[in-house]
Symmetry: none
Subunit: 355 residues, 2 copies
DNA sequence: TGATAAAAGTGCTATATAGCAATATAGGTT
DNA sequence: AACCTATATTGCTATATAGCACTTTTATCA
């Protein structure tokens, strides 16, 4: 028993350690018994136990004893939920798509008197402490962060968006990316385009794979053979858009249209192609995905697939609310349709125009 | 002294009542003194006071005494702070500038184990309940929401950004908008422009007024007489940018450059001018303010004033943390410099080019 | 074997006492 | 007025003891 630690703190630590080691799992020895075992006064034991009760580690039932508090059971509801983005998304919540989702979730939450925290996992300690304060979490999910998703689920109810979690008991709200990109290919084909480039998103996720698969299915549906040289492997960033355009510029025969797996890559492609003297859409048509706010504000205004932001937010919040209230969630996995918004970044091919 | 109430509860109630009646406003008598006055044991007094400390009613300073906890500090700290935007900002947290600020604040807060809630005031009840959960608030301030700012201040510590509050005891972190726009005018003049249009922000705030004043001062500094026909009264929105460009198009002689009070209006102006066959920057140069992310991604990349997002967030968080911890805030009102970022939306006037 | 009484266990309230480290106050000196 | 010393104040840690109301366990008796 160290001289520098008060005895009552020593007893607190002793109890906490015994709980951690599963030596104490439910009922503690009586206060007088414990005092005798540890060789301290009864009042010292009482002081330690009172502190641990205040901290929520233990609870007392008069005349019956003192018990270990189960992990999740006794926490008070805070009516605060969290929106989680992992820290590999460098721009974090300032990313145009995620800030739209976050804004929409906050509106639905506020109507039900829930406050909304935004948090990430750059600081592990802060991440854990924030989780402890929440009734539940809506998380943007990627396969690469499955461990984090599991950790969240072990602490509070969780609903995922964008990609399903590997653990299929976690409800998910995603976009029907496949049919959205089939739609884009159909529209581009309706303008007469046959040589259609594609900038993929990250293929480590269902989002990336589904958008690419939709492109491929759209080609075959329009009797266009798949040509792998018309595919640039991107990663959703503006910089990838620039590099993708460079790649297509390097081809002997450029595509007459490019479908991008998101708007940021479309912006990068427009920048590089314009710099190289190409006119959008007269020389080459561009389609994006997400319909971030500036998509309608740039020159030319971008034709893009509009993600159903409000629907995603509403379904995610409602599913989470049910989990928090221990109610059954009717539709565990929801795939929402996305709509193509036609603006000025696409035009008919020169051949169709000449005819 | 009632038989049915334990003595320590009686002492707790006695202290709380004395606080309520203002008989105790700051320092309590010593524990031994109190025990004597109330005719109970010293240990009983200690037990009562410890409970009131746990409840946040009192706080103790070893060797100095026990004190009444001021009203605001009554609650247990949640280590959760809020970022407030009033609901008249339709795009809410998805606005490019505000989401950057919010993202930056979250990073500083997480490092200090504070969680960050985003909230608005569309739902009054939710607004009040959220306030109750927070240790403090960083609020984007406008003169039109002074009543809301006061309400926040009456509940928790508050720091404002963007505009100072009318209540000068509230710390503020703002941008030096005046010198930022002087800078823009200087730069435009250095390119040979003498006919310089200006799209104001909202003039109901210091931000709006300072940016306009900086434009005017910049003109006089460069010996250019102020011409009120070269001023369009805007409101920071993309739509105002379109209308502003329409206004300048309607003039007999258009300006050769336009300085916009923010980037969204610059986007609108570029859109309308391009539609009307003008080339940016060859026919007319454009300057924005804020340096939102897409400013660098559009064609042409926008020359704009970069708001010191991280500095604002850092100072705001640090000031708020001090308020929460009852420490003095050294610099109550901070005006941070903003830097002009030169990209592709400006060029020399045709006259300078010909020479 | 079942019922009842006694004993033991349990957290709770209350008091008394001693001594520690740090700070504040009072008094005296230069 | 500034400095030093002694004393008082302050919350803190720790121990000991007594007895209460209630519940659980054990022992005893029919």
């Amino acid at each position: 028993m160290s001289e520098s630690v008060p005895k009552y703190v020593f007893v607190e630590n002793y109890i906490k350690e015994a709980i951690r080691k599963k030596q104490l799992v439910d009922k503690l020895p009586g206060e007088r018994v414990l005092a005798q075992q540890l060789g301290v006064s009864y009042m010292t034991v009482r002081k330690s136990i009172d502190n641990l009760v205040n901290d929520g580690v233990l609870y007392k039932v008069p005349t019956q004893g003192t018990f270990v508090n189960p992990d999740k059971a006794n926490r008070k509801k805070t009516r605060t939920i969290g929106y989680f983005l992992d820290s590999s998304i460098v721009a974090g919540i300032s990313s145009p798509y995620y800030s739209l989702i976050f804004n929409a979730i906050e509106k639905y939450a506020a109507k039900e008197n829930y406050s909304l925290v935004y948090f990430s996992d750059a600081d592990k300690e802060s991440f854990k402490k924030t989780l402890q304060k929440l009734d539940g979490v809506i998380a943007t999910c990627f396969p690469r962060i499955e461990i984090t998703i599991l950790e969240i689920k072990q602490t509070v109810p969780v609903v995922v968006i964008d990609n399903s979690a590997a653990d299929k008991t976690i409800p998910s709200i995603i976009i029907d990316n496949f049919n959205a990109d089939v739609q884009s290919v159909d529209y581009i084909c309706s303008l007469g385009h046959r040589r259609i480039g594609f900038m993929t998103g990250l293929e480590d996720s269902d989002v990336g794979k589904s958008r690419f698969a939709g492109y491929q299915y759209g080609l075959s549906k329009n009797a266009i053979p798949f040509d792998s040289t018309l595919v640039y492997r991107g990663n959703y960033s503006y910089e990838a858009g620039i590099e993708g355009a460079e790649y297509f510029l390097s081809l002997e025969t450029m595509p007459t249209a490019i479908i991008c797996a998101n708007d940021s890559m479309a912006l990068g492609a427009i920048q590089k192609l314009t710099q190289n003297g190409f006119d959008i859409p007269n020389d080459i048509s561009i389609v994006g995905f997400d319909d971030i706010e500036v998509a309608s504000q740039i020159v030319p205004a971008l034709t893009t697939v509009a993600a159903p932001i409000n629907d995603i937010a509403q379904h995610a919040f409602n599913s989470l609310k049910k989990l928090i209230n221990n109610e059954p969630v009717e539709h565990q996995h929801i795939a929402l349709p996305a709509r193509l918004v036609i603006r000025q970044s696409c035009t008919k091919t020169q051949e169709v125009k000449a005819a």
